[in-house]
């Protein structure tokens, strides 16, 4: 009786999941298995009996190395991995400093970290165009310090896209990591020091492992939107050479006779994310057991 009572509390959550996760995911699948009508409006195939698997097989085979969508998939994987690495390299020390060393200024620093959220993503990206253009502030600075031929940042190169992705999403990484580091019981670190660990050893063997769940959470938060991002690329690069999976999906979904193919490419993206999410769930479950 009581068990059933408590389980009842999961109902709203389950309903939410069904309404906003399961149904939309099925809608994408039905769309990928569907057709377009006379007016090029995509018609979903709700019943598996009417499924048309052509688009899905085209999308998945095209996403493999050598396929027509492989360059986009490869770029996406490379850019997201590099951006995540940079997010960690830049974001972790920042979060660590704020959580462990900032004392009276902690609140102020957290506020400063949140402030970028106040400006819309689009505007922040547009600001980069002003900064990075050939005669922009960055290059003016570089010329001032003696670099005669500064790079053309907006020349459709991958570095600028990665830089923009990092800048756009890094607050989402720092905040959970900060929260995780802030929660770590200082007495555990003190115990490590008492037992003879150097500060570096204490960090490597206590702080870092304890903060791993929050690193994974931060990573999930930045990786998910980066995988589907296309606008950053459009604005900062505008070159097909930095095409990402999001751009490919956008191309097919926006218009034309192959909107179902766009939906099928969304399934490809979901499959990639699913692999990552399984890793995340397994790791966090393992961490939860270990640190319980």
């Amino acid at each position: 009786m009581t068990a059933r009572y408590w389980r009842g509390f999961a109902l709203p959550g389950v309903a939410w999941l069904c309404l906003f996760v399961v149904v939309p995911a099925y809608a994408v699948l039905a769309m990928a298995m569907g057709r377009v009508n006379l007016l090029l409006v995509p018609i979903p195939a709700w019943s598996p009996a009417t499924w048309n698997p052509g688009w899905v097989s085209k999308a998945f085979s095209g996403a493999l190395p050598g396929g027509e969508y492989w360059p986009a998939v490869r770029n996406t994987l490379v850019y997201v991995t590099a951006s995540l690495g940079l997010c960690f390299a830049i974001g972790y020390p920042v979060a660590y400093y704020v959580a462990r060393h900032a004392k009276r200024t902690k609140t102020l620093l957290v506020v400063l970290l949140v402030i970028p959220f106040w400006v819309s993503y689009l505007l922040r990206m547009l600001a980069w165009i002003g900064l990075l253009s050939t005669d922009g502030y960055v290059n003016k600075l570089l010329i001032d310090i003696g670099i005669a031929h500064p790079p053309n940042w907006l020349n459709g190169n991958a570095y600028s896209v990665i830089l923009a992705l990092v800048y756009g999403y890094i607050p989402y990484f720092i905040l959970p990591v900060f929260a995780g580091l802030d929660r770590i019981d200082r007495s555990q670190i003190e115990a490590a020091r008492d037992l003879g660990a150097t500060p570096f050893q204490a960090f490597m063997r206590v702080t870092l492992p304890l903060s791993r769940p929050s690193i994974l959470a931060g990573a999930a938060l930045v990786v998910l939107p980066m995988f589907g991002d296309y606008y950053t690329n459009d604005l900062i690069s505008a070159s097909p050479r930095t095409n990402m999976l999001g751009n490919e999906i956008n191309l097919f979904v926006q218009g034309g006779p192959e909107k179902n193919l766009g939906a099928a490419l969304v399934l490809v993206l979901m499959a990639i994310l699913l692999v990552l999410m399984i890793y995340y769930v397994v790791q966090t479950a393992r961490d939860a057991r270990r640190f319980a």
Partner: protein
């Protein structure tokens, strides 16, 4: 000249997104539904058929759109409804003053809803969830909209300005003989824009094939060259560079050649893809760009202070053998205010309103009174950009974007997708 804002950007950004689909045509009657795995292998020898079994409209193959017994035009001489008139339009694709003057004239309200891609608009209209009166169909979608009974036939007795003011060739156009469903809105060409301060002495007209300008000049100014991020316009440039003037070709070899030419340009000239060429040329971030005539007419208004309007140029062949297109207005079948809608169409074809509209859009309407001379004389465009305005004599020779067959649609989109991930 009024300082323009982002309006054309918004309009064109939407256009671009939509035109990834241009010319939107596929899957007419189910039997030919693309199934992803099947590769399109339409050959030029077979004459492709459009939706509903209609021939694919071309200037040399005019199409009379069918009128159905259950979808008839309204009777003549009816009293206008009380409104409000529901107008479904591209974002910022009409001068608000033109709308206001209509409201004043007929004592009604006009409510404007906007869309950013034509596919989005058609999906919304055909769902029946919304009821608009006036819509702006694209030529490439027209046959589908007529056969799908999304538009209602027009009663031209309410639209006398069509015969009075519009170029004769568009008062009775090839894509809708007898103007059964549409009246024309803007006409525009697709040519090449550049800055003379960055490219002194350059002029596509000096080349044996002017359409090769990007390929000839591009590698010398790598990273400063742009192409319209638009499936049909982009591939058409590749076709014309290769000497193929059928910009509606469904020959896979032609499209493959265009695709390869563009990929080559991506690699040799670091080609950029966007639809705000007027901004890039104005601020000097790009120097040479495939461009729409209306966007080029507006370039000086985007230039930073101190930039001379005289440095901007637009080339489009004087004989008219270049890409050209026009938009249209139509009345939707589900219109609650069909009489008012007809009167609105007539209002938009008024000469005074069209000039007023030009100061906002910089896109020309095909009216006899709207010539390069009249626009320069009024100070609406600078003399060095008179090439952005077309005359009817040129228009007749133009290479028009027409609808494609189902297979052609897939062929075009796949070629473009390959270019976009080069």
């Amino acid at each position: 000249m009024n300082r323009s804002t982002r309006r054309t950007f918004i309009r064109r950004a939407g256009m671009a997104a939509a035109s990834l689909t241009l010319p939107g045509l596929i899957e007419a009657c189910g039997s030919t539904t693309p199934t992803g795995g099947a590769s399109a292998t339409a050959s030029a020898s077979k004459t492709p058929v459009g939706p509903g079994g209609l021939p694919l409209a071309r200037p040399y193959r005019p199409v009379t759109l069918p009128i159905y017994a259950d979808n008839k035009a309204i009777a003549s001489g009816l009293t206008p409804e009380k409104g409000p008139l529901q107008f479904y339009n591209w974002d910022a694709y009409i001068n608000p003053d033109v709308v206001k003057s209509f409201e004043k004239k007929y004592g009604v309200k006009v409510e404007i809803s906007t869309f950013t891609t034509i596919d989005e608009a058609v999906a919304k209209i055909s769902s029946g969830a919304v009821q608009f009166d006036v819509f702006v169909p694209e030529l490439v979608f027209l046959e589908r909209l007529a056969v799908g009974k999304v538009l209602q036939p027009l009663n031209l007795t309410y639209v006398p300005n069509l015969k009075a003011n519009v170029w004769p060739s568009l008062a009775n156009p090839w894509y809708d003989v007898g103007s059964r469903y549409t009246v024309p809105y803007t006409v525009y060409t697709t040519g090449i824009g550049w800055r003379t301060d960055k490219l002194p002495g350059f002029d596509p007209a000096n080349l044996s094939n002017p359409w090769s300008a990007l390929w000839v000049e591009g590698p010398k100014i790598s990273g400063k060259v742009g192409l319209l991020d638009d499936q049909h316009e982009g591939l058409a440039m590749g076709l014309l560079h290769n000497g193929v003037t059928d910009v509606n070709t469904e020959n896979p070899a032609d499209l493959n050649g265009a695709k390869n030419a563009l990929i080559n340009l991506v690699n040799t000239a670091n080609l950029k893809f966007d639809t705000n060429e007027y901004q890039h040329l104005a601020d000097g971030s790009l120097w040479l760009h495939q461009a729409w005539s209306g966007d080029m007419a507006s370039v000086p208004t985007y230039a930073p202070q101190g930039t001379k309007a005289s440095i901007f140029r637009y080339w489009w062949p004087t004989d008219g053998r270049g890409p050209i297109d026009n938009d249209t207005f139509g009345v939707l079948r589900g219109a609650k205010n069909p009489v008012l809608a007809h009167l609105f169409l007539n209002h938009l074809l008024d000469v005074k309103q069209a000039f007023n509209n030009f100061t906002f859009l910089y896109y020309q309407q095909p009216l006899n009174a709207m010539t390069p001379e009249s626009l320069i004389q009024k100070g609406y465009i600078v003399p060095n950009l008179d090439t952005t305005i077309i005359r009817e004599s040129q228009f007749k020779n133009g290479l028009v974007q027409g609808p494609l067959s189902d297979r052609g649609e897939v062929l075009w989109e796949n070629a473009w997708a390959a270019v976009k991930s080069a």
